[in-house]
């Protein structure tokens, strides 16, 4: 339960972090450490160097920015949950952040870490996917914004390059109906299955947690709702295109059942 030996460097700025990352191909960014350090303690992850961005103060903020809300990548889950801007203008993000782990986890873990980690069981990634969020990444050659729909490429893999730092998460204002259904065994657990539903463009966007290798959109459900189906019949399509895991928390078969129940309940809550 002690990590393999590694080097440690504290970055004073995003630019410094990027250059440190560029100096060592096996280096990794350390943000809240609440996904990375457990993996290192089990020696599943063995980075040669940690580039600690935890002290870069100007990466932690939540602010209104035109028709969007901009969230700094280092904003802790606790601060996301309690940000008034989000509570008023995009409540599902604040609410979901408040459901992550336990208070200790929420005071350390960051929204950027959650996104960059690319864990299909994470709460925020599927919410951000349902919101069509944008992720701002800064690298040696500059800054780009990646759409959530193209960001999560595979299990724990994302569109971020090894020498890029995620700096900002941009979400739309979403104050119409929404619902966040997290089904977990214990209060502090990851979701066995999670569902987020947000009304958008007259229809609904549905994000799924822990139903495949990446966070997913329930495209079939979105289509059905768009076509006028009621929640129960739309929810029947909730497992289309999913590949849920089979683990100690539930079989794939059970998750397929669960996702239908949760989507139906989420639609009932989100839709008038």
């Amino acid at each position: 339960m002690i990590p393999a030996p590694f080097d440690y460097a504290r970055a004073g700025s995003v630019e410094e972090a990027i250059s440190l990352l560029g100096s060592d191909p096996d280096a990794k960014v350390l943000a809240g450490g609440h996904s990375l350090l457990p993996a290192m303690r089990l020696r599943i992850a063995r980075p040669s160097m940690l580039v600690d961005i935890g002290r870069i103060a100007d990466l932690s903020y939540v602010r209104e920015d035109g028709d969007r809300i901009a969230i700094g990548a280092l904003t802790r889950h606790h601060d996301v949950a309690n940000a008034e801007v989000l509570q008023q203008l995009c409540p599902i993000v604040a609410h979901a952040a408040g459901q992550i782990g336990d208070p200790q986890v929420r005071h350390m873990g960051t929204i950027g870490g959650s996104v960059a980690h690319g864990d299909p069981a994470g709460d925020l990634p599927s919410v951000l996917l349902a919101l069509d969020a944008g992720f701002v990444a800064q690298g040696p050659t500059g800054t780009r914004t990646v759409a959530a729909t193209g960001f999560f490429t595979s299990l724990f893999e994302t569109a971020l390059a090894p020498d890029e730092v995620l700096t900002e998460i941009r979400v739309p204002k979403a104050t119409a109906g929404w619902s966040f259904m997290k089904f977990q065994r214990r209060a502090q657990d990851w979701a066995v299955v999670g569902v987020s539903a947000v009304r958008a463009n007259g229809g609904v966007h549905v994000g799924l947690t822990n139903m495949g290798l990446t966070p997913l959109r329930a495209v079939g459900v979105e289509e059905a709702v768009g076509g006028g189906a009621d929640p129960a019949s739309a929810a029947a399509r909730a497992d289309e295109g999913t590949a849920p895991p089979d683990d100690a928390f539930g079989s794939a078969e059970y998750r397929r059942q669960l996702v239908k129940v949760l989507v139906r309940r989420a639609l009932e809550e989100a839709l008038p």
């Binding site: 393999a4 065994r185 129960a232 909730a238 100690a248 059942q257 129940v261 139906r264």
Partner: protein, 750 residues
């Protein structure tokens, strides 16, 4: 890089390197039958790795990190052998763990039964069920650890260990390491939790001592959570074939249980004795005419099992109480009514029970009635009926569990008859220091049970001083010489009573000195208001602090009286103690997802006289939390090759405060006749009573849908599957339960 050259590495040792270190293997002290087959259990395996956790090498290094780095580099050349984990498969002996034993079926023990065994076939109602209880991981938050040091030249060693049993460990490790008991000191400091998992003598303790001796320097070992899950004993892991014989109107005529018990890959200290401990309570609190219990212990390629909070009695109570509910469903009666009409009649004095031992005292009905009252049983039944009527997605279930347990381990004569190698006595020494302070040395070894508090109360009450004046010392063989340590809810009933007797001895001596000083005869003295007083002249008095001072000064003691006021008692209990109680659990089950929430939990226990109510309540709360965990969350799972899948707290689900409800606790008080304190024991009651209360509630919540079977833990998926199974063929929406109708087999638990 060779292993020994890695930074900080002091040595790497295999069994071959330590061949001379261990004259004997690790101790197993309960060979329960004459023909039991006992495998030798070396601290490091010499030939075959029999379970994930069976260590092959030990690395000693300057720091834990250096040791872990080096351990990672140790390469093991091994041939993969087939494994067997399933009890019935293992019993076929196609894969045999210990070649020299020739079989995995290492022990068979029967209680021998009582009453007319024909009843199990001829009774008007015969309920038969099979119940599986999975392996559990005891999960003391504070893991095991030890530090061995000594003076090798003098052959003297000390082991500081996170153990419940310093006194027993001194005997056991002396045999394993060859260090004489006179040269071996064991210290159990602040141990943290135990729950039976530290009622053992482990390979790491023997290795630390042997390496300290060999290397001539202190050796420390502290487990991490994964090591704890792999190599610290597991609990439960049993299958029962159960039979209840009864009548149509609800009388239970007989209870019969045939058990298979998973021993794991080796015996640890008490492994084969654990099912047997349960063997004495399979009649529950009921008045039955016939009784049978037997078990077969089977070796499997998994972590050895041993005592886990309740040790045999939770296993027993679970199957009895599941069976009683099944019986009630079969005959269409309320489970509360069935239990109540079968409770054993009260008795103030000890009475021989059908299983052959004497139950110290009993009065079950008031406890039972109080539990139902606090649970608002009738009100809950109405609420349940309303939800069933309305077809609510969330259904309510009410579960009961009435239990009796055996504590106060144990009368040495009975232990001898049961082939346990040690006695069951305990000891206490009281030393009254001059000017008012009192030192107590107890043979019990508390690790969170609050003996410092309760023992101070016993002494303060007895000697007329305040608890603050009492210092209780424990957990060090050099300080408390005599003892049998803490487990099996024995401490108050045995060690506490020993202390009470030591108090009496102190007072006997004090009375002689008081009479001398007050110039009266002993008969003229009475003990009143915390002092010896002259009858009729209460102002002429001597307190214990007065007398302790004069006994220490010894300036003027009566003829033949030795200086110093002290008293020692070694007490061997004449009988066990038998607590009992009834717990009621109300749950809400989401019938679409299978998720269970505990809405209400009531525990009414009778542990005899209570010394400290707060400690008793704490024990019940913790025990019930562990039992709810067992019922709804916990299960150790292995894959087909013997890897522990639930190898961290992420996969092995221990509920948090968020999942455990506030409990409604109450007590009745039926004094024990075994000891003069009247105490029985409470530390395991919660864990014994609660699992069946919770599972019975879950089944009850969905029984109207046709569900009668339910395994532990009742995870959402397991409950969902049970509902699916029961309602098969009923119309459902998207695999859900909308519109489901009760299955045809409702009430037919045949």
């Amino acid at each position: 890089m060779s292993r020994k050259q890695m930074p900080g590495v002091i040595g790497v040792f295999t069994a071959a390197d330590l061949d001379d270190a261990f004259p004997a293997g690790l101790p197993m002290v309960w060979p329960i039958t004459e023909d039991i087959k006992i495998p030798t259990h070396w601290p490091l395996t010499k030939d075959v790795i029999r379970f994930a956790g069976d260590a092959v090498a030990v690395v000693v290094a300057g720091s834990r990190a250096q040791a872990e780095d080096a351990a990672e580099e140790v390469a093991v050349r091994a041939t993969e052998l087939p494994v067997v984990l399933d009890l019935e498969e293992a019993a076929k002996d196609q894969v045999v763990l210990h070649e020299d034993l020739g079989t995995n079926v290492v022990v068979h023990w029967s209680h021998g039964g009582g009453g007319d065994q024909a009843i199990f076939e001829s009774a008007p109602v015969v309920v038969q069920e099979r119940h599986l209880q999975p392996r559990l991981i005891p999960n003391a938050i504070e893991g095991r650890g030890c530090l061995a040091y000594g003076i090798p030249a003098a052959g003297e060693f000390t082991l500081v260990s996170s153990t419940q049993i310093p006194h027993i460990t001194r005997v056991g490790l002396s045999i394993t390491t060859g260090i004489p008991q006179t040269k071996l000191r064991i210290i159990a400091p602040d141990v943290g939790g135990g729950f039976g998992s530290k009622l053992n003598i482990y390979a790491e303790e023997a290795l630390a001592l042997a390496l300290a001796r060999q290397l001539g320097r202190p050796v420390k070992w502290i487990e991490d959570r994964q090591e704890n899950y792999l190599a610290t004993t597991h609990g439960r892991g049993v299958i029962h074939d159960c039979t209840l014989a009864g009548t149509e109107d609800g009388k239970i005529l007989g209870l019969k249980f045939v058990e298979l018990a998973d021993m794991g890959a080796y015996f640890q200290l008490l492994t084969p004795g654990i099912p047997e401990l349960g063997g004495w309570v399979y009649m529950g609190p009921y008045d039955v005419d016939a009784y049978w219990y037997e078990f077969t212990g089977i070796m499997t390629n998994a972590t050895p099992t041993d005592a886990y909070r309740g040790a045999g009695r939770p296993e027993a109570t679970y199957v009895i109480e599941r069976l009683v509910d099944a019986f009630a469903r079969r005959i269409g009666k309320d489970p509360a009514q069935v239990r109540r009409m079968n409770l054993h009649p009260p008795h103030v004095d000890a009475q021989t029970s059908i299983m052959g031992l004497n139950v110290d005292s009993a009065n079950y009905e008031p406890t039972f009635d109080r539990a139902l009252e606090l649970a608002e049983y009738d009100q809950m039944r109405k609420e349940q009926a309303a939800r069933r009527e309305s077809g609510d997605v969330r259904q309510i279930g009410i579960g009961l569990s009435s239990y009796i347990e055996m504590c106060g381990l144990a009368p040495s004569e009975i232990l001898g008859a049961l082939r346990y190698v040690a006695g069951g006595w305990d000891a206490a020494e009281i030393e009254c220091r001059p000017f008012g302070k009192v030192v107590v040395r107890t043979g019990t070894s508390p690790h969170g049970q609050g003996h410092d508090t309760s023992w101070s109360q016993i002494v303060a009450d007895g000697l007329g001083i305040t608890p603050d004046d009492v210092e209780v010392l424990h957990g060090d063989t050099a300080v408390s010489r005599l003892g049998m340590d803490t487990y099996g809810s024995r401490s108050a009933a045995v060690g506490g009573e020993a202390l009470r007797q030591a108090v009496e001895k102190v007072k006997e001596k004090a009375r002689i000195i008081a009479a001398h000083e007050l110039e009266v005869s002993e008969d003229d003295l009475e003990w009143a208001d915390g002092a010896f007083r002259v009858r009729g002249a209460p102002d002429k008095a001597r307190t214990i602090p007065d007398l302790a001072t004069s006994a220490w000064q010894a300036h003027s003691l009566p003829q033949g009286v030795e200086p110093v006021l002290e008293g020692t008692a070694v007490y061997d209990p004449p009988n066990f103690t038998w607590p009992a109680g009834t717990h009621v659990c109300v749950v809400e089950v989401d019938t679409e997802t299978g998720k269970t929430d505990v809405l209400r939990y009531v525990a009414v226990d009778d542990c005899g006289v209570v010394i400290n109510p707060m400690i008793v309540e704490g024990q019940v709360q913790g025990g019930v939390a562990q039992g709810i965990a067992e019922a709804l969350y916990e299960e150790a799972v292995y894959d087909g090759s013997g890897n522990l899948m639930t190898s961290s707290m992420t996969q092995y689900l221990i509920p948090s405060a968020m999942e455990i409800p506030d409990m409604i606790l109450d007590r009745t008080e039926t004094p024990s006749t075994t000891n003069a304190l009247g105490v029985k024991g409470i530390a395991e009651a919660g864990t014994i009573a609660s699992p069946p209360a919770v599972i019975n509630a879950v089944v009850d919540a969905v029984s109207h849908l046709g569900v009668t079977e339910m395994g532990k833990p009742a995870s959402p998926e397991r409950v969902w599957r049970a509902i699916q199974e029961a309602t098969k063929g009923s119309p459902g929406v998207s695999g859900g339960l909308d519109g489901a109708t009760p299955a045809q087999q409702e009430g037919g638990a045949s």
